[in-house]
């Protein structure tokens, strides 16, 4: 996300009008030429990008702040947003099982390992699944370099997913109904209490900006569920982009257990403008760009890093994508959407990725990202 290191000169009224006009025109064009649902989803993605960049609501940074400085605000805001989504998602999923689905996945050996690796990678890049898209859109060079490799990792991880799940998985376990919702909210409150207790006295506050961001992100996530029928996700779309490119240059993916599955064959044939996660991903990049340009953040100079940091960026990008596929989602698809729709794997993902983050933070300095 755009740093506030230098005072920025906000864009003029004409530029701002052009930015908003372009975003609306793009969404309208998708609605007219692809279908109203897809136009809605692009608008929802734009909303995610704007609020994540505009209100600086993130995942990797707040985890880093909690681990390094015991500042809890950002992590508490995440838990608040997840709880708000759960309040709406649990009853919606229970009463509309044919139309809506949760982010439910099995806990397994590879799932835990994938989340741990994702946690390391997201701290190296200081960008998670959504964060890498937001940061790239707002001009962060590390995220821009990492993004294609994130997508390639997602494609490769999906390609190998069945091999990894065959190592051992539990049956999918999802909490539902009033009991499931109550348990989820109590567990979120318990985690929030532990986070609050472990924070320094000065780091326990939840700024109004983050409360507002949590409410808006939660509202957008519920809208995503209502409009598309599935929770907010990021990683599938990125892997699909690479799979389409691989197929375009002549590779036959029909024999691959993942990409050759019926639903994925259809996704490979249809336009990206009809794919749910692709549309919200595109919207996130564009929405972050819009906010960064609006407030003049694009005038900031690019950061300079040693060669080993750029090599680490490439490898961490691949690990981010590969790990998140094995983990059945990133911070969005597994942590945010998994927990808020009752999946046990979301909680396990949280624990494993948090441990990975502790290691990733230690590796940052060693790899030349700091100092």
């Amino acid at each position: 996300m755009t740093t506030a290191a230098q005072p920025a000169t906000p864009a003029g009224i004409g530029t701002r009008a052009a930015l908003v006009g372009a975003a609306l025109a793009l969404s309208l064009a998708v609605a007219v030429f692809a279908g109203a649902r897809y136009g809605f989803l692009l608008v929802i993605g734009l909303g995610f990008g704007m609020v994540l960049e505009g209100l600086r609501f993130g995942f990797a940074g707040p985890w880093r702040a909690m681990i390094l400085r015991r500042e809890a605000g950002g992590l508490l805001a995440q838990l608040l947003a997840i709880g708000l989504v759960a309040l709406a998602a649990f009853p919606l999923l229970s009463s509309n099982p044919g139309e809506l689905t949760g982010a439910h996945a099995p806990v397994g050996i590879a799932m835990v390992g994938g989340a741990f690796v994702f946690g390391i990678a997201m701290q190296l890049l200081l960008g998670c699944g959504s964060g890498t898209l937001v940061n790239a859109g707002s001009g962060n060079a590390v995220s821009l370099v990492a993004l294609p490799f994130f997508a390639m990792g997602s494609f490769l991880g999906a390609s190998h997913l069945f091999w990894w799940t065959d190592l051992g998985s539990l049956p999918t376990l999802a909490f539902s109904g009033t009991l499931g919702l109550t348990g989820t909210l109590l567990a979120l409150a318990l985690v929030a209490g532990v986070v609050w207790w472990r924070a320094t006295p000065d780091g326990r506050s939840l700024p109004r900006r983050l409360v507002l961001a949590a409410i808006v992100v939660a509202a957008l996530a519920v809208l995503n569920l209502v409009v598309s029928g599935q929770p907010w996700g990021v990683v599938y779309g990125l892997g699909l982009w690479v799979a389409k490119g691989v197929a375009l240059v002549g590779a036959d993916l029909s024999a691959n257990p993942f990409w050759g599955a019926t639903g994925n064959v259809e996704r490979l044939q249809q336009s990206l403008l009809t794919d749910v996660t692709s549309l919200t991903n595109i919207g996130i990049v564009a929405g972050a760009f819009l906010v960064a340009a609006w407030r003049g953040g694009l005038a900031q100079p690019l950061q300079r890093l040693p060669a080993r940091a750029w090599i680490a960026t490439v490898l961490a990008g691949l690990a981010l994508g590969y790990g998140s596929r094995l983990a059945f989602g990133c911070n969005v698809g597994a942590f945010f959407s998994g927990i808020s729709t009752g999946s046990l794997h979301g909680w396990v993902w949280f624990a494993a990725a948090f441990l990975g983050s502790i290691l990733g933070i230690r590796l940052r300095r060693f790899l030349g990202f700091e100092g």
Binding site: G35, G139, L147, Y236, L240, G263, V276, G297, A299
Partner: protein
């Protein structure tokens, strides 16, 4: 000195290139065969793909 303007436009360009290449090679868009605007209340099962979903073998 290079600024974030360069990389931000590069990110937009990357996404635009992916979409345009895809439009040139995928099944043409047809808004008349699109699903209802909102899934909730449509009576139709979800047709999208999600990171948490493991396809059947």
């Amino acid at each position: 000195m290079a600024t974030r303007r360069l990389t931000a436009f590069a990110a937009l360009g990357l996404v635009a290139a992916v979409v345009l290449a895809d439009l040139a090679t995928s099944t043409p868009l047809d808004p008349f065969r699109a699903p209802p605007a909102i899934a909730l209340g449509s009576g139709q099962a979800t047709s999208g793909a999600h990171c948490a979903a493991l396809p059947g073998r």
